[in-house]
Amino acid sequence: MLDNLPEWLRTTLGDDFAFWLGYLTNGKHLTWYASVQYTLAAAAFGMLAALVMGLLGAAARNSRLGPLRLLGGLYINSVRGIPDVLFFLFFPLAFEQTVELVRAQAVCTPETLAANVGQWPPCDAANWLLGTTEYLALACVSLGIVYGAFAANVIAGAMNAVPKGQLEAARAFGFTNSEVLWRFHIRQMWIYALPGLSNVWLLLIKATSLLSLLQISDIVLLANRLGAPNFSRSAGLVHPDWRWAYYLVLLVFYILITFVSEKVFAALTRWASRGMSVASPA
């Protein structure tokens, strides 16, 4: 890497710079930089799942069926009583065990099932080993379920905020009910939901720091490994405990993401509210 630099540049920048450049671009650090993809993927797909869950939850909350309304209310309110990290650990485990239980019915012999009563997995053949990809997918679904409840609350409120006159006008023009729902109600709902959804996104971004709890080697786990006191037999102490510096970098990283997100959502709100008679959205 350094050998490619011109000679005059190397001499002006000095040995210190060369050392730090070499240190910060070694293989472990490159792996660390690359692991940002897990965080960003979890945030993006988690938000997508949250929007889907939010629409479903809001539909249940505003539905005409009593039991469905109750279920929607329970779903929306559950996140206010139970920490997100508990959901985050529970859903992947619950899903994994359910799949293994279903598989056990198919692949296990009755003898092995009887021998393994009270143990898990029911038999070795039913054991499902999850890799990073599977855990990442489960993490996205968990994020979607937890933050979908927040999104459902936002969307249910926004659905009620759409002026009734707009829908009546659409109906008067002869649009069918489903056309009114999709082309007018949900189309106009987004602008009222945007400030709340921006909030949900900011929460979800921060929750992506929990990925390491699902055995994904994300930026947090790797920062912990890179910063830990580093001894080697030939070189002695390479560096003392630098973890706080690595976590400081992560802290700044998340603050920057928050800052950029706020700017993007402000622009998005301005764009979405063009031509709409919405009192200056925040």
């Binding site: 996140v79 206010r80 009583g81 139970i82 920490p83 997100d84 990290v85 508990l86 650990l89 529970f90 485990l93 619950a94 065990q97 009270g118 143990q119 898990w120 927040f150 609350n153 709340g196 909030n199 900011l202 929460l203 921060k206 929750a207 992506t208 720091s209 929990l210 709890l213 947090v220 912990n224 910063g227 003392p240 405990d241 973890r243 706080w244 976590y247 400081l248 992560l250 802290l251 998340y254 603050i255 928050t258 800052f259």
Partner: protein, 245 residues
């Protein structure tokens, strides 16, 4: 059924650790938050910028990372500072460090809530107080403070509940000493023993739910008292505008 009762009994003591973390950090966070809210509203540009910077940094980053950072920072200074002073057993004690970091975090979130309330204190009442010749301190005590607390209370209630939820993260980072386990830690240990995820985690969730409801109830009573001069006032409704970390 027996298994559930057994779990409820096993998780009772760990629940106390979560409650302790919340109770130890809330008073400190409350007082600091008032100062940071006043600081953010200050006319002194330097103080205002410092306070809003602190609030933005702590609200814009995950609590999980904050825990890791302050714990490793405390560890890094162990040999050079805490050990020679002989206070390493206090500084590095999870029962002290945990509430301290929680307090730093809740200060930022609560300060933003109080700052928002401060901006909506009726201007006319402050002008009336000034017209009566009240000093700044008198204005604050008899006009600004009562309004601010009443306006901020529903949002602050939410913040306290979500702070309680954040205590679930403490022992993912700080060392568990002996049997000083919290709910998540103990539930995880029980799960490792018999792999019954559908029993232990829901019982832990029930504990969180029960304590959250208690907090909502008690804070609702306080809110009734804060609004006792407003007979027609609507009872406290909780919104989820700015929760979790």
């Amino acid at each position: 059924m027996d298994a559930i009762l057994n779990d409820i009994a096993l998780l009772a003591r760990p629940a106390l650790f979560n409650i302790y973390f919340a109770f130890a950090s809330i008073p400190l966070g409350f007082v600091l938050a008032i100062f940071f809210a006043l600081g953010k509203a200050s006319r002194n540009k330097l103080i205002a910028n410092l306070c809003s910077g602190y609030i933005y940094a702590f609200r814009g980053s995950p609590f999980f990372i904050q825990l890791f950072m302050f714990y490793s920072l405390a560890l890094a200074f162990n040999l050079s500072l805490w050990k020679p002073l002989g206070i390493d057993w206090i500084v590095l004690n999870p029962l002290v460090l945990g509430p301290a970091i929680l307090a730093l975090n809740t200060t930022a979130y609560s300060a933003e809530i109080f700052y928002g309330a401060l901006l909506t204190v009726p201007k006319g009442e402050i002008e009336a107080a000034r017209a009566y010749g009240m000093t700044g301190a008198q204005q604050f005590r008899s006009v600004i403070w009562p309004h601010m607390i009443r306006l901020a209370w529903p949002a602050y209630t939410n913040e306290v509940v979500f702070l309680f939820h954040a205590t679930a993260l403490v022992y993912f980072t700080l060392p568990v000493i002996g049997d000083q386990q919290d709910l998540m830690n103990k539930a995880g240990e029980l799960y490792q023993r018999d792999y019954n995820a559908f029993l232990h985690f829901p019982v832990a969730a029930a504990y969180f739910l029960a304590v959250s409801l208690c907090i909502f109830f008690v804070f609702g009573l306080v809110y009734r008292r804060l609004t006792r001069h407003m007979p027609g006032a609507a009872p406290m409704r909780f919104r989820m505008t700015r929760p979790a970390r």
